[in-house]
Symmetry: C2
Subunit: 336 residues, 2 copies
């Protein structure tokens, strides 16, 4: 009865790729052969899977007709180079790089818009959105039913791990330098990251918007099925290794019924609502978890039509790798 | 011609008190005799002023009739105990503790509402607002003239120094413990502060609001003279020693004229506007400075009636001590 699938992971040596392989094992995803792929610099490494070390091979030598499903956890350039090859070979594609346009590979977060899958033509191409959009969509999805949301204001405080291993090392190194009163070196970040907050993540365009912020607005609207939703967003870089935090303020068409909000969050998939008065943190709660934590649920100080929330989510796991595996779990039900 | 004044500083051994004494010296404030006061635990210490070490004495033994002006940089309890005694002795009072009600000691930020001073009865009692309200008022004051501001959304990312020396030590100690893989101890903060963000500063009431957030809403309206302004605020604790950062999104009645905004900010007092594309940070720019830094001035991603800003300000200096000294400079012009 139970079928298993040959699968490839492109970008298997990155933070997200490694976590993805680990989650495939944890959730007993029905993998027959697992092919781990990367660009030539990373090929040759190996990644543990089901008690064995799987060798990472060069993506440009891979015959995609060997597999049914490919995860693209590499950078946008690698994804753009190989996605059409994989699709032509008949593979279903789950893109985590953000490189494929929404018209070609719609963004899906199962807790928010799983229904989009049903309308797609084969071979399927879908995208796992940015970690910020994923976390926000998980939490806002169940609130669509109880609130008339007019505007979402978000300050997303992002962990350095979203920028890869070099960023993680630099935060650790800078911190040690400062504590030991040694001169500070900045090579990855353009200024001191330790004990500091950076006001933008990436390079702004002429209007001052960074790609991540524009992407978040577009993705959130699509995930929630609310094309006219106003989204105000600032993405800042926090001196945190793993786990994103979100300060969220919603403006509503009418005064908020807090009991209904709490009930919707309690009932929502992949949400852990902490007790009133308490709050979750990225490091203490969210990291390593499969849920998005929510706390500080409250009205405005004197605006009953304002709902404030604080979210904490594991950017690598729930925000990226796990969402991609959840998408794969839906695909194998009836679309592979 | 030039007159000088006998002055007392209550809470002279705290972070703000010490900085205040240093600023009195830097700005050549016309001090005749300087009396440094503190509660019995801190009395006996000394603080440098004009090349001498000034001994800190017990506040409850002090004869306030000796001075013309008293700064209260102590905690709210000490301020409440001694403010009326000081006022009865005819002293002007500048409160930095937030303890005195606005009806008794109105909050003033010279760049925003200096005109309030003229209407006060002697002996004068004024308050220097919370560091967050001060920084926001400095920047929003010149924008009142060019924008019809309907709502201010703020996520204030606060430095641990606002909580005093114990908080600063704990962040340093926790960070060293984590880098050295030693077990983490939390005594001041209720959880891991290093490499983490805490979603609230202080204890929330039954509605989920913390005192600092309620205070910021009230103070900002008063400072800007906009009693109906909607203010949505979340104050979070960042793993930063000194310097607050603010992610600010304004909703306006009409599309924003960015050129007019930039011109107003350029012309505003105590504001340093960084170049488009760049942004200031708390640690790299604001700390030790007399101005509030502003960057990331931009419209919404697709809402021309939204104005976004990023602010960085020295919470101890510009947010508190310097504002109090600026108030004193106004007072001595014609009200002492």
């Amino acid at each position: 009865m139970s079928q298993s699938f040959d699968i490839a992971v492109v970008g298997a040596t990155g933070t997200v790729g490694e976590t993805l392989v680990q989650i495939l094992e944890e959730r007993s995803f029905p993998v027959a052969d697992l092919h781990l792929l990367a660009s030539s610099e990373s090929a040759g490494h190996s990644v543990p899977f089901r008690g064995k070390n799987v060798r990472v091979r060069e993506v440009d030598e891979f015959d995609f007709s060997k597999v049914k499903l490919v995860f693209f956890a590499a950078g946008p350039a690698v994804t753009l180079s190989f996605a059409s090859k994989a699709s032509s070979a008949g593979c279903a594609i789950i893109d985590l790089s953000g490189a494929l346009p929404a018209g070609q590979a719609p963004q899906i977060v199962p807790e928010a818009n799983a229904q989009v899958l049903a309308g797609l033509e084969k071979p399927i191409q879908v995208s796992s959105p940015s970690p910020s959009a994923t976390a926000l969509a998980v939490v806002l999805a169940p609130l669509r039913g109880v609130l008339d949301i007019q505007r979402v204001n978000v300050t997303a405080c992002l962990a350095v791990s979203a920028q890869g291993r070099e960023a993680v090392s630099e935060l650790a190194r800078q911190t040690a330098e400062l504590l030991n009163l040694r001169p500070l070196e900045s090579t990855f970040f353009d200024r001191q990251m330790a004990f500091n907050l950076l006001a933008q993540v990436g390079k702004p365009d002429a209007q001052g918007h960074v790609p991540l912020e524009k992407r978040l607005v577009t993705e959130l609207r699509q995930l929630l099925g609310m094309p006219a939703l106003k989204v105000s967003v600032t993405c800042i870089q926090a001196p945190v290794f793993f786990g994103d935090s979100f300060s969220v303020s919603l403006q509503l068409a009418a005064p908020v019924d807090l009991a209904a909000v709490n009930a919707a969050l309690e009932a929502g998939d992949s949400i852990e609502l902490v007790e009133a008065g308490d709050y979750p943190t990225a490091v203490g709660d969210a990291v390593g978890q499969d849920v998005v934590y929510v706390g500080r649920v409250r009205q405005g100080v004197d605006d009953a039509s304002e709902l404030n929330l604080w979210l904490a989510s594991d950017n690598v796991r729930k925000g990226a790798a796990l969402n991609a595996v959840q998408l794969a779990e839906l695909l194998i039900k009836d679309q592979l």
